[in-house]
């Protein structure tokens, strides 16, 4: 759980309070906190004068607008066909070993969440993953090791 403090008010100031401001506002919250708490969704609903169920319904449509707790770094491993042919399995295994979690879980210190995602447009450099917004491609065990270690120190 996190406090949104003035974040939502600031986002409303920046993007406005019309319905079409909803996506940028939700994206802004997720950028900062990686997921949407119920409180955050309720506050957005109030600001935009729409129902909380609609905010939830909209957010839950988009796989990057998580409504369940997520870690500080969300790792999304591509599972679509080319990545799956080119070693997605090892990528996941390596990550699961390093982080001691399974797909869908978050490390107990709240730092990493491991997820799968659909094609992210790096098929020619498969296998690939995103950590928050940053793509990593042509992954090998060694490469993943280095990347994750780096994040552990961030």
């Amino acid at each position: 759980m996190y406090q949104t403090d003035n974040l939502i008010k600031d986002l409303v100031k920046e993007y406005g309070s019309r319905r079409d401001s909803l996506m940028p506002i939700l994206q802004g919250i997720v950028e900062k906190h990686n997921y949407l708490t119920d409180d955050a969704m309720v506050e957005v609903a109030k600001e935009l004068d729409i129902s909380a169920a609609e905010v939830y319904g909209t957010a839950s449509f988009y796989s990057f607008l998580d409504t369940e707790p997520r870690g500080k770094f969300v790792i999304r491993v591509c599972k679509t066909i080319t990545c799956s042919m080119k070693g997605k399995h090892e990528v996941l295994e390596t990550l699961e070993d390093m982080l001691k979690i399974k797909v869908g879980e978050t490390t107990s210190n709240g730092i990493f969440t491991l997820l799968e995602t659909n094609c992210m447009g790096w098929c020619h450099k498969a296998p690939a993953m995103l950590i928050n917004d940053t793509p990593y491609t042509e992954l090998t065990r060694e490469k993943i090791n280095e990347i994750i270690k780096e994040y552990m120190h961030k």
């Binding site: 909209t58 449509f61 988009y62 796989s63 799956s84 020619h124």
Partner: protein, 387 residues
């Protein structure tokens, strides 16, 4: 048999040109002149559906509304497609120029680039380029402004009306058509929505002329196209090739010597087996593609390929209409059940019929195209799917 062209690489999309020069010329042209030129070139949309771009602009320009929009579709979610990212990464100014030209053609002052969330890392660089661009067109006297909207991980938002819904702050559920975007699109206003590559093509056409453009490709598929090549190939990557080559030509160039099938057009496209390579034309008269070319060699299980695609659709369908929402689940569970021996192998035939229904009864292009991959894979690799 259809006439095919030899494989022929070109370098136009990524060519380093000064958009100022073209835009200066466009400034002096009338909307009708621009539209005529694009119509004459035979350019068809590069986002998948292949609608003639000139027609789209014409319809939109004929609308009487004051507010109109140009939307650049940079949602690029089709599995195996990554050319739009490359274009935006390398020649963003040309994309913006294409939007400005479209704006002039249809009479719109606002452009929006809908960039998929997976490409958000490009945003700082794209914004910097945009700032330069805005300055330039301001100097040239264009009344046109571009802004960004970012997706959040939903393939269906590449579908034009779902994309509008998403920008409007809703779930990305495709709308009923008609009305079409050119009369009622974003915020209910006339909208021309074009793929990233289509827009760059319009710049090429206005620079080199429609005559030059038409010389590339075939009668029904003029011009060249950026292909995203991946899978079992020694040289995966981005290639700009004239349209109209045979798939055999393509495989000879990009295959690893053991290609058994090519998925043309991504998960929504068709699976072409080896025996049909020679007779398959890549283009609107044959098998169209938004650019995705995925090669599979004989070590690959086509069951896994199919399963992967079905899993994709199962998650990425918006879920609003019955044939697609439930159909995708049934196809996925169905092939699993046959594979496990829980359903008879003839159940596959029921699923083929179901896929045919999805093709005609689904609300949008997603549900309508699930049957492409399903039926072409099942028809050609039935044994692999069942046993």
């Amino acid at each position: 048999m259809m006439e095919t062209k030899k494989i022929s690489k070109v370098d136009l999309i990524f060519e380093d040109i000064d958009p100022r020069e073209i835009l200066t010329r466009v400034k002096g042209m009338s909307a009708t002149e621009i539209i005529e030129e694009v119509l004459e070139s035979g350019l068809k949309g590069r986002g998948g559906a292949g609608f003639p771009t000139g027609m789209k602009w014409k319809f939109c320009s004929e609308e009487k509304e004051k507010d109109k929009y140009i939307v650049c579709n940079a949602d690029e979610g089709e599995p195996g497609t990554f050319k739009d990212r490359e274009i935006l990464d390398r020649v963003a100014q040309k994309v913006y120029a294409g939007m400005t030209i479209a704006g002039k053609a249809v009479g719109a002052q606002t452009g929006i680039v809908y960039l998929r969330g997976e490409y958000k890392f490009l945003l700082p660089q794209l914004r910097a380029e945009l700032e330069k661009f805005h300055k330039m067109i301001h100097e040239l006297g264009f009344d046109f402004r571009i802004d960004f909207r970012i997706g959040s991980g939903a393939y269906i938002c590449g579908e034009e009306s779902a994309l509008f819904e998403s920008i409007e702050g809703r779930r990305g559920e495709p709308r009923n058509k008609p009305p079409y975007p050119t009369s009622s699109g974003l915020f209910g206003k006339p909208t021309s929505i074009n793929n990233v590559e289509t827009l760059v093509n319009s710049v090429i056409i206005l620079k080199y002329g429609s005559e030059f453009y038409k010389k590339m490709g075939t009668q029904f598929s003029t011009g060249a196209k950026v292909f995203s090549v991946s899978g079992d190939t020694p040289k995966p990557g981005i290639y700009e090739l004239e349209l109209g080559m045979s798939l055999l030509e393509f495989v000879n160039e990009f295959g690893d010597g053991d290609t058994k099938a090519v998925q043309v057009g991504g998960a929504a496209g068709f699976c072409v087996p080896r025996k049909l390579f020679a007779s398959t034309v890549i283009g609107f008269e044959g098998v169209p593609t938004g650019g995705s070319m995925k090669l599979f060699n004989s070590s690959r299980s086509m069951y896994n390929v199919l399963h992967n695609y079905l899993d994709f659709f199962n998650e990425e369908s918006c879920g609003q209409c019955t044939p697609c929402r439930v159909g995708c689940q049934q196809l996925l569970k169905g092939v699993e059940s046959v594979k496990r021996g829980e359903s008879k192998s003839t159940y596959i035939d029921e699923l083929v019929k179901l896929a045919a229904t999805m093709k005609v009864a689904s609300k949008c292009g997603l549900g309508q195209s699930v049957g492409n991959a399903f039926n072409s894979i099942v028809e050609n690799f039935r044994e692999e799917i069942i046993y």
